[in-house]
Assembly symmetry: C2
Homo-oligomer: 726 residues x 2
């Protein structure tokens, strides 16, 4: 069975890095060293008191009981559903509910890749960018009205500028598709061509972008609903949180980019927008393109360059998601890059048409942003009245915005996966959940988006200033990376491609600076700060993982020490301190481990005697330790110990301040300092209760001691449980 | 050195029960059994690779740096302060602050008992009961005014009834002092003479009483302050919580019932009250005992029997704390019981005089409860005007109420200690903190009192209905116990004592029923419910501890099995399942322990190879287990294992749903079912990070696995730490 593992596809193997030749050689050297210490492997095999042979968990695959909402496409001809089995039984409560909400687990072999036709790919990949015409023109207008009628008149010109920008960036991404047929997200392109830090900057920009996509799309979607049903307006925040919870559950369940699910609302939205623009312009033509009378505007700001730039940056949020197709090239049918390019062209045409049409309609209708309904809703009212067509328009808008939010739920966890694979994000984001979804990334996105949504009370307008920085940072770095790539490689046609990317990159850079500067006080500073923090955190995470990797790497054995048999306890030759191996932890083969087992004993009962028996059965030197609050109690305990037979060495420590854990930790530390070459095993008897509330009735000395011993060098903690009957 | 351990004094030894003869015999039998298995003790002693000899923690006693606020009385002639040393160093943050607030730890030998003179004992032990004249007459009046002027006129009669009750209960407690010279708290007396359940009822009643004493005293104390400074009234709750925090810190520090600290405010309060009554009555005499004109009262309730009884029950809260002297007989100088009796008599005289005087003064002044100041404050204004005498009055009242609350901080943890010693309360309440205070009980009381105080917003009047039930339940059970005691023992003078106790018990019982019935809806139901819950909980705790005691008791060895040497690994003779020892856990000597060590390995790195080396060095059979998400990854891992040398048996489990912990737990369980006689030791390599936030960067598989393995029978968990450099 061969698996198709793409460069950046999700994989359950990502946490298990294959070894290179050097590492293999080291492994063999370590093994040879071990051989001398541990003796014949066959002897170890014969000593095994159990039969082996279990090799799969869960052992049997039973027919599934709960189906899935969205079928996963076939893999190797088999329907993927065959790999969905009932839940393996887990400990603890909840699984039945969990299964009901999330469905049965999916086997790793069920990873499948949908190969999309262009007509399916278009709605799937462009829901995000096309839906942004539902809020971007309004965001632009909201800036312009502050400068009064003169400002509003500029909207056509600014929209034209944005259309040029869209074209430039779109053409630029056509080059990326060609160059990265396995998917060229900004993180990959920037890392690949510009290096670590620019790659991280692009990733951080994208991460903020995805979080804001969810928040803004849901805010705009809820606004589309409350425009139609104003009574729902006070419940904006709960509705939005409900939608986020729905997306969370759906994505944890593993709802893939299922074609039909996306095609219907996106095409419906396109159709309704087309109808809106057509009908609206026809009306306007009917009245000779004279705007409906509007109350005069009071300019609160002067119409300066800064205001125009701010309007431009706000309107440019319509471009968020334009990079989606270049990320998803492998999802197209062959020849993938060709189909992807064609789809991108179509998307660009539709985007520019919708954006321009909307702005034009706003202009001729003279519509202004209102507090209680969206501009799109006002336009729809103007064109369709309040009838069923208006309801369809609002429903299609809300649906396509919901899908746009869902896109982020696909992309954000995937980005975190890529970062985690490169050790820039915690390893938990590598984990494929039992539904083959990156559950941790999905949860992280939902949590971040919900926090942002609540913090901004679900107001689209307040979120827009944060939005542009991340997006255009990613665009800029990605396009700059492409420019460098063309320059370095000089493949056929590189000049043209370089020119396109340079244009796209330059324009993106300008918009980035524009957005960061003009909206800094309005909220862009948050985005800048977050991007910087994410980058810093990612670098620190990487540094930690690098240190761990170096620390746990197998090392070639320097000096091969003569073999020492480890048998039943016998007097250990006392070596002076300077002869001893001073390295704190160095035992990589059994003969290098010398033992002393320490058993803390509070009183002589069945649990502690079993711990003593366990310790003694290891046939290594044993030392029992008793902590006593006073000298006379200590004497009494020694008496009991003698009554028992004084079978093992006992040390009694008087702790007049009645502390138990600190003297034991101190004592273990002292023993380590006395013989740093010895591994100390602390055997702790631990009472295990059946019911949770019973825990409060027992001192958790064993757990506290285990925690306190953890930082001590060469100290192993062994917990011998004693199960209480009730 | 001999220690004076009283029957119910606090002791650091309470958790360490001495063994009786049967237990000692069992211990010897268990030891003989061990002897055959483990061989010569001298061999074990010689095998020990370290020197012993540490016997004290902390090792040196350095001169103290932080003194204590209140000196502890001398023990065996030495000043107790000599036993206060600087804090032993503990792991983790906080100790310096902790030491600053709580002081250096005190050695167990510093437990000392103050022997009080009568003149000191009187203020120490009567602050609680005497201070209640600050709120009890007002509580009574608050009920009576609802029946209008006719109701108020009854106050003298009801007060006379309460005085009779005080006398009866006080005389009754004189008998208890005689009979229980080591201290006869209600819990002890009721348990001793009536049995477990009545004893627990008395304890539960006292516990609610102590919590309410704190809440009510502080509420009344804050009311005394806000009466004088009305601007502070809105801050009642924060002020009260601050006072509780102060009492908490002081008591954790171990402020004992230090004579002078208590004597000054209590005597000051007595003096001020005497002055108040004298001056007030003199004024009244001057105007011919005609009450000052008051606005007419509107009766909102009819003057029925129920209302009178309710007023009586409210006024009777003046008696809370009357039992304090009988609890504390050993604290008196010899002959203790004689001095205690004399002090009780004095206390009774003062209590009745103050209570009667206050009620009389209220009557002649015609004072009514007001929302913004206490009745006592009104009386003081009437007698002293607004000058310095008034301020002194209010300050003395607040101070004595604070001391009354402090009394509960001495008694509640002591009661919990007694209950824990009898296994009716969690063992944590046995623990003497390093300042020789029952820290856990003190914290529990502060938390409960703070919760009640906040819930009732610090309003004294609202708390009163809850108060009487617990107190009079304890009184009734204690006196009934005494009656039974006299009847059974028939010592000299038993008839008279029985008569006094019977009278006190009967009257208490009547008041108990009265309080529970008439104030049931007003809040007494809470007290009744809490008492019932505490009793139920105590019985369930006892049942659990009894089960634990039985489970961990050493058992005489039934059949002495022939000795089996446990050496280096060798093939284990396979016995059929029915021959094996079916008992889940039974190994009480080393030869009965058969081992299989299981090492879960995620990848071959330094940490896991060290865990393997540790496991192999124990020279018991070892099985390495690898969990793989897919068959081909499993094959790759087997390849690495062979490259290493295939030194140890390896089992690879394919877990296609990518779960790690469940398949391991399942596998360990399966191995146990295959050979239930074998002890399975799971050796877990665990990465230990230096910084807390780094924990988020590592899967906590080791910790999760350890938790999941805990319920499995005969499964020992060994954690081999690997310390990361940064």
């Amino acid at each position: 069975m061969t698996r198709e593992v793409s460069a950046d596809g999700p994989s359950p193997y990502a946490g298990l890095a294959p070894l290179d030749e050097d590492e293999l050689a080291t492994l063999r050297a370590v093994g040879r060293h071990w051989q001398r210490a541990a003796g014949d492997p066959e002897q170890w095999r014969r000593a095994l008191p159990v039969d082996l042979g279990r090799s799969r968990y869960p052992a049997e695959i039973e027919p599934r009981r709960l189906g899935r909402i969205v079928p996963v496409a076939a893999h190797n001809g088999q329907p993927a559903n065959a790999a969905a089995t009932p839940a393996p039984r887990r400990r603890g409560g909840g699984p039945p509910l969990r299964r009901l909400v999330l469905g049965a687990p999916l086997a790793s072999t069920a990873i499948a890749r949908e190969r999309m036709r262009k007509l399916v790919a278009l709605p799937v990949l462009s829901a995000d960018v096309l839906s942004s015409v539902a809020y971007a023109p309004e965001a632009m207008l909201a800036v312009l009205v502050t400068a009064g009628a003169a400002g509003v008149r500029l909207s056509i010109a600014i929209a034209a500028g944005i259309a040029v920008l869209m074209l430039a960036v779109g053409l630029s991404y056509r080059q990326t598709i060609r160059a990265y047929p396995h998917g060229g997200g900004s993180y990959i392109v920037a890392t690949d061509n510009l290096g670590r830090v620019p790659g991280l900057a692009a990733a951080a920009g994208l991460m903020t972008d995805y979080v804001l996509t969810v928040a803004v799309s849901i805010a705009a979607g809820v606004a589309a609903i409350t425009s139609a049903i104003p009574a729902l307006a006070p419940d904006t925040v709960p509705i939005g949180l409900g939608v986020i919870a729905l997306l969370l559950a759906g994505n944890l369940r593993g709802v893939r980019q299922a074609g039909a699910l996306f095609a219907v609302p996106t095409y419906a939205f396109l159709a309704m927008m087309a109808a809106l623009v057509t009908v609206g312009l026809a009306h306007a033509a009917g009245r000779g393109f004279h705007a409906a009378p509007q109350p005069p505007l009071h300019a609160t700001e002067s119409l300066g360059v800064l205001l125009v730039l701010r309007a431009f940056a706000s309107g440019a949020t319509a471009m968020t998601g334009i990079e989606a197709i270049s990320n998803a090239v492998p999802a197209f049918r062959p020849t993938a890059w060709r189909n992807a390019r064609a789809t991108l062209t179509w998307m660009l045409v539709l985007l520019i048409a919708l954006f321009a049409g909307t702005v034009a309609l706003i202009h001729v209708d003279g519509v202004r942003p209102a507090p209680d309904q969206t501009v799109l809703s006002e336009l729809a009212h103007g064109a369709f009245g309040a009838g069923p067509l208006y309801v369809c328009m609002q429903a299609a808008t809300a649906a396509v915005l919901l899908l746009a939010a869902n896109t982020a739920f696909n992309d954000f966890p995937r980005l975190l996966f890529l970062m985690a694979r490169d050790a820039y994000a915690p390893r938990v984001f590598l984990r494929l959940g039992d539904r083959l979804a990156f559950s941790n990334g999905i949860i992280a996105l939902a949590a971040a988006a919900a926090a942002i949504f609540v913090a901004f009370a679900g107001r689209t307008g307040a979120l827009i200033p944060l939005y542009a920085v991340g997006v255009f940072l990613a665009f800029t770095l990605s396009q700059t990376g492409m420019v460098l790539r063309w320059w370095r490689r000089r493949e056929v046609g590189w000049r043209k491609s370089l020119a396109f990317n340079a244009a796209g990159g330059a324009l993106s850079a300008i918009v980035l600076v524009m957005a960061a500067v003009t909206k800094f006080a309005a909220g862009a500073w948050v985005a800048v700060l977050v991007v910087a923090l994410i980058m810093m955190l990612a670098l620190r995470i990487r540094r930690h993982y690098d240190a761990v990797r170096a620390a746990i790497a197998l090392r070639p054995v320097a000096a091969e020490v003569p073999w020492l048999a480890v048998g039943p306890p016998r007097p250990e030759p006392r070596r002076p301190a300077d002869e001893r191996d001073a390295s704190a932890e160095g035992e990589e083969s059994p003969d290098e481990v010398r033992h002393l087992t320490i058993v803390p004993i509070a009183s002589l009962n069945l649990a502690s005697v079993r711990a003593l028996a366990y310790a003694a059965s290891l046939r290594q030197p044993v030392l029992a330790v008793h902590i006593s609050p006073a000298e006379d109690e200590a004497e009494r305990f020694r008496g009991y110990w003698r009554a028992w037979g004084d079978h093992l060495p006992l040390e009694v420590i008087v702790s007049p301040y009645r502390a138990v854990v600190p003297p034991l930790v101190d004592h273990v530390g002292a023993l380590h300092r006395q013989r740093p070459d010895i591994t100390l095993t602390v055997v702790l008897p631990e009472l295990v209760v059946k019911r949770r509330w019973h825990r409060a009735l027992h001192n958790d000395v064993a757990a506290r001691l285990a925690r306190a011993l953890k930082p001590l060098p060469k100290t192993v903690v062994t917990t011998v449980p004693f199960h209480l009957p009730s």
